[in-house]
Amino acid sequence: MAEMQELADVAWILTALTVVLLMFPGLALFYGGMSGTKNVLNMFAMVMTTLGTVTIIYVLFGHGMVVGESLGGIIGNPLDYFGMVGHEEVGVDGGFAETLDLAFFTLFACITVSIIASGAMGRMKFSAWMVFSVIWATLVYFPLGHWVFGDGWLSANVNFHDYAGGTAVHMASGFGALGLAVALGPRRNLQTRPHSLPLVLLGAGILWMGWMGFNGGTAGGANYVAQYTIMTTLFAGGTGMLGFMAFEKFRDGKATVLGMCSGIIAGLVAITPAADAVDPFGALVLGFIAGAFVAWACTWKAKLGVDESLDAFAVHGVGGIVGAMFVVFFGWATYTNDEPIRGIFFGGDISLLWGELIAIGVTCIYAFGVTWIIAKVMDKTMNIRVSNEDEEDLDFKLHGQTAYDYN
């Protein structure tokens, strides 16, 4: 029989995992509401199917590549957790099973790929998306996951702070979405406004709930850090909303409901690397800054001339960087890690800045570059973009169904 504490840990991670699963329909609704009436189903399909495609490869070799024995710091041994063979007996005493770990981290891999659908909105072949999901997870997420979550060269040699995946999940997907959007080229019709803000709000609310499990579950058990990070996650989402709306009020004259929903997600993204490294005041300030900064970053794509349609680059890429940099300068948490966390302004060492910049730079450049190469190579071999005709009526042409035409 396992000890009481371990049983409590197992119970919390089981709960957290179940809550994290909500992020998929949450993200699907969040993105789907911002899509047009004729490509909303395709967006749902892109977000949800990673739970099939990426899960398969995660079970086969993904978990090994992320947390398996490191092969020179570059990648984990893909054979280490091949279908959990040889690891099933762990946990039969009632304690932590490796299967729970496998399931929890499967969701991390899947949601990271789902976020990239932002850069493919309304113009990518569905078959190409399925293939891309699998290749991207293998070549981008698994290596980055190993460098950050596993025993890779980054975590071994560089002093940086990333609590729950600001780098490997959010910056990787944000810059991945940008790379994919660049490779795909813009949609033919850019004048399609988000078709349903009610769906966007529903999605943002569900995502917020899922995020509690994501950050709280990353603590690894029913412990101090889980309670701490649930608190900071809650706070940053709330002020992220205000930051985004305040920026809009100042810039456009009105605080919008899409801005409110986007700000929630911006705050949540920013707190992901920082959830165990800021105090309650820090969480409130970070959320607000991230919301406002992301509101500004949403306009960059127009200047870059890139149709990164649903702003994963701004929300996840830039939002993740804001969170990571905030820890460097304003981090303050005493009991969450072995050593107290102190940002540079609170007496912390300047070396954290260089380490963080390296981790951010490596993640963003690697994710953007490799994503672009994957998409370009795929385009040469299987032509990943839909025909102009199909783009006009994407849901029906790709999935044989429409969301709103009932006749």
Binding site: M34, Q191, R193, P194, E248, R251, D252, K254, T256, L258, G259, S262, A295, C298, T299, A302, D311
Partner: protein, 112 residues
């Protein structure tokens, strides 16, 4: 006979229908339509990007009346549909040369 067509604000359908019924108009046809006039469409901002809608949603009513009642019916519609602000819509009348009631086969004004 005249065909009177009114394109009005969506929320004015009920008062207009009521006013016409009080005048003794025995039937009408209603459609949801889109269009633009001097008001044009409108602008909405999403994440800092402005989207312009060309058309605004309106409601269209078709009524067939005897020629001598046309002016009075138009006045009734205008009175009931008016808010005084831009976007109230338009009402027009056009001559109608043929009309048949399907059930009885009656022709002309008898079929109104």
């Amino acid at each position: 006979m005249k065909l009177i067509t009114a394109v009005i604000q969506r929320n004015k359908l009920e008062p207009v229908t009521k006013a016409l019924a009080e005048r003794g108009v025995g039937g009408l046809t209603v459609m949801d339509v889109q269009g633009y006039g001097s008001q044009k469409g409108r602008k909405e901002v999403f994440r800092g990007k402005t989207y312009e809608t060309t058309f605004l949603p309106k409601t269209r009513i078709d009524v067939i009346v005897p020629a001598e009642e046309a002016e009075a019916v138009i006045d009734t519609i205008v009175a009931a549909a008016k808010t005084g602000s831009i976007g109230d819509g338009k009402v027009w009348a056009s001559p109608l040369t043929g009309l048949v009631r399907v059930r009885t086969g009656e022709h002309g004004p008898d079929a109104i």
